[in-house]
Symmetry: C2
Subunit: 528 residues, 2 copies
């Protein structure tokens, strides 16, 4: 049952008077549930509670936190089909996507639980004392990662599960030892409430401190701004638009005590088509990219919005094949009428730019809130002269840039803003001959793909989901994979500390049997 | 020979008209050399050159960069006594300190060289493909750290060697693969020029690209601001005041593309004296702290500026012993007349606060630019009510806070801004009984010391030199130890990349024999 209330720790509260509803884009009508925005008093209560919880939660062992994360996964699964139905009613995504994304959310929670159980993620580093060193003795120093404090997570619009209430930001922050306050995304608050209820239940069953998790509702920007500016909040995770992410970054940077914001924002994910790929495998790649551009109605941050090649018969043929393939695909429902209109406006604005022409657009009937996939084309020189053409159009959209030559192609890449991904389609031999293209891409992206599509972000330790600004606000971290935990921790040193009072990870005996750096060597051995 | 010019790469240039001189605080007179500030054109030329160098330098192997860093160390040593004399003439520090700090600078350069030679620092992480995974195949993903781009380093006033031209920021950024532009600290530009000449010579001898290092001169804030705002600059390192560091942080955060600033700023380094320590070892600790407070004229960021204990006969006795010890120590010369006057003004302002009384002050004659060590005292309640009392006085200064009880002591710690270090003096048994004190300290500091003094920052992997704001602008990193390199790199993923075109660190054969994470296991084995 959806209550429409805020979770302030385990307490459901709704003392405010501002309410709103979510929208079912498939049915093209409002959903029945009424959600009440958090008041300033409730925000204050929530943050205070999170800060109190921090004092206890940060002392939890890795295995206690792992038990908590696994319990969250279990409780989410226990919500069964009701959760999937709720998800679809607030996102327009079909059942298959709901199941797939739930699997991803569960997988993420369990992968952080595994990381905690194994335990080496704290990067315990030990340099033992040298009492007789000249000219001065060396003191014993031991380092470990410690949690920052309460973290605010902004749910995304396009991943109601995997990048929202119990998504990667929440899972990684809880793994780090930080209490989490979620600002539920206003498009899917009912889904958020259900997931939040599972987290609360898991927290209670595993004896986590009250306030380790809260879920707040806000329709505009007030709630988010209040949270980011609150002195007890110590870090922020965000997935969404450049405008939204930058606004939070600015608020956080202007605080008396600035705090880190990890905002995963926009990306057009450039794809370079090298000549041989087009001569040898044109149709294969046209089909693959028709699928990638339209996947999930193009509502992925890794959607390939920019295809770049050298002008000529091969690229023309590829464009035609892409057009044929993409026009055959039935459009999908978008997340919300505002998403659909944003997509349509964006695509139209692009079409209207000088020198831009249409390659493909779905021609059949399009239901309300559905996105008619669109592919445009422009020459390299025009692209270089018009910054607008490199902006993201969120939805099933891509633009083919036809360059005069390789130098222009490199210039097109070099001029791009920072990107989550860059892809090169070609033969291995070609890659070697295009080292300038590779170098230009390396400068601009967080993940470089060879012969593949950027959509489909694998959750594994080697994945980087982040990149130079504005792909993310701090390229030194990733939002996906277990290393996402390092956004929420700081290194901490103990000097000359009594062995028995050190965290277990740093004690001589290495009771947790983790991999540690001891006097510059990686080892699991105890210290004698 | 000091030329007074800027190093724009290997070129000595001084086309500007603004000049100034440095000051010898021991002789209390200006030094003879005339230094010319960099012009806007020279700044532009320098950054463009650094950016060009980046394209080549980032491709250098670990062993090539190690050779470069070791060559810098060699060339600095080759400057011999002339460098030590120059250092003393621009800092007032005696010969012993000059030698010691040079040793530290050399040691830092060599420790980064060792890190590069060993090679595992890049944290190569590999997840191999699973072609038959359901429902979709898993692609091969491989991750490594990549350098950010040109880094600007602001030399510190108080460490003309170890935190300046070829100090920890420069060494770590060069190790990361980032070209460095140093804004030489205006108090010791001659020393900076000599060290810069060694770096340039080393770059030439080891065939590093022109522009991998530059050294610019500026008297005011224009040079620094121009560098931090330049679009081709990608990160900033700074050691100095809160005002200065925050100004750079703000400039960097307001850029169209914000960049990371690691500023190591102020700290009063609280020291808690637990009851037994005072009954058992009062005189020992009084002597140790008299030494720590006055070391280097108190001009250390880890200087213990705040001693906190429970009011009573034992604390009174300790205060008297500290007074006796500290008044016996001959004052030292400070870095510059402005440092001495800043110290004197600060100490006087503190003395004039309501409820503050004097414990000790050196009573003998004090030469010009020398700092007369001063210790004050105040009760806990007064301290809690007056924020001014927790500000740093840079110099040989400390204030003893006498608390009514343990709760007040914890409140005093909890109210402090972020700190580089916190120290607890006591018995191991006592530590166990004062877990609230320990917890409060952990929340506020980057390094926690038991029975020691905060001065003397060991350069080793377990050292954290950084802490919650304003100890540093980003507590997630350290300025000292080899992990300082992670401030200047970002993780980068290759997906499905041809093995022979991957960086050596990620190739199947593991040709560099480094420790890698392969499918979640730490190993040096090749991939078959």
């Amino acid at each position: 049952m959806i209550t429409g209330k805020n979770y302030i720790g385990s307490q459901l509260k709704a003392s405010g008077s501002k309410t709103f509803k979510t929208f079912n884009p498939q049915l093209n009508k409002e959903n029945p549930w009424v959600f009440t925005e958090a008041t300033q008093d409730e925000i204050e209560e929530t943050v205070t509670l999170a800060n109190q919880a921090f004092a206890t939660y940060k002392k939890c062992s890795g295995s206690e936190k792992a038990t908590f994360l696994n319990a969250i996964a279990d409780e989410i699964l226990a919500l069964g089909d009701d959760l999937l139905t709720q998800y679809s009613s607030e996102s327009g995504f079909p059942r298959g996507r709901a199941e797939g994304e739930r699997g991803r959310m569960i997988g993420q929670l369990r992968s952080f639980a595994d990381m905690l159980t194994e335990g080496s993620w704290v990067k315990a580093t030990i340099d033992t004392a040298i009492a007789d060193r000249q000219p001065a003795p060396k003191e014993d120093l031991r380092k470990i990662f410690a949690p920052l404090g309460p973290v605010v997570v902004f749910g995304s619009s396009n991943f109601p599960f995997a990048f929202s209430t119990a998504g990667g930001d929440t899972a990684s922050a809880l793994a780090a030892g930080c209490p989490v306050i979620v600002k539920s995304h206003s498009m899917h608050i009912g889904t958020g409430e259900m997931v939040a209820s599972a987290i609360i239940k898991a927290a209670q069953k595993t004896n986590m401190p009250e306030g380790v998790f809260s879920n707040l509702i806000g329709g505009g920007t007030t709630l988010g701004a209040s949270l980011v500016k609150h002195p007890l909040v110590k870090a922020v995770g965000f997935t969404g638009s450049i405008r939204g992410g930058r606004a939070l970054f600015d608020l956080a940077a202007q605080r008396p005590e600035p705090i880190p914001v990890f905002a995963e924002m926009g990306s057009v994910n450039p794809v370079v088509l090298l000549p041989n790929a087009l001569t040898e495998n044109s149709e294969k790649w046209a089909n693959a990219y028709a699928g990638s551009i339209t996947l999930g109605a193009g509502q992925f941050c890794t959607n390939p919005g920019l295809l770049i090649g050298i002008k000529g018969a091969a690229l023309t043929k590829f464009s035609e094949e892409l057009a044929t393939a993409i026009e055959k695909i039935a459009p999908s429902c978008m997340l919300h009428p505002s998403m659909q209109s944003g997509f349509e406006d964006g695509a139209q604005k692009m079409s209207a730019q000088p020198g831009v022409s249409k390659v493909a657009q779905y021609q059949g009937d399009v239901a309300p809130n559905y996105g008619a996939q669109t592919v445009l084309t422009v020459d390299g020189r025009t692209f270089l002269e018009n910054k607008t053409l490199s902006h993201e159009v969120f939805g099933p959209f891509s633009i083919i840039v036809q360059c005069e030559n390789q130098a222009e192609l490199v210039a097109v890449i070099a001029q791009l803003d920072g990107q989550l991904t860059g892809t090169i389609i070609g033969e291995a031999k070609e890659l070697e001959q295009h080292q300038d293209v590779v170098a230009a891409m390396q400068n601009r992206v967080g993940r470089l793909i060879f012969n593949g599509v950027p959509t489909g972000v694998e959750v594994c330790p080697s994945m980087i989901h982040g990149g130079p600004y504005p792909a993310s606000s701090d390229s030194r971290f990733t939002a996906v994979g277990i290393d996402a935990v390092y956004r929420w921790v700081r290194p901490f040193s103990y000097q000359n500390w009594p062995n028995e009072l050190l965290p277990l990870e740093l004690q001589n005996e290495n009771p947790l049997q983790i991999l540690r750096m001891v006097n510059n060597s990686a080892t699991k051995s105890p210290i004698k």
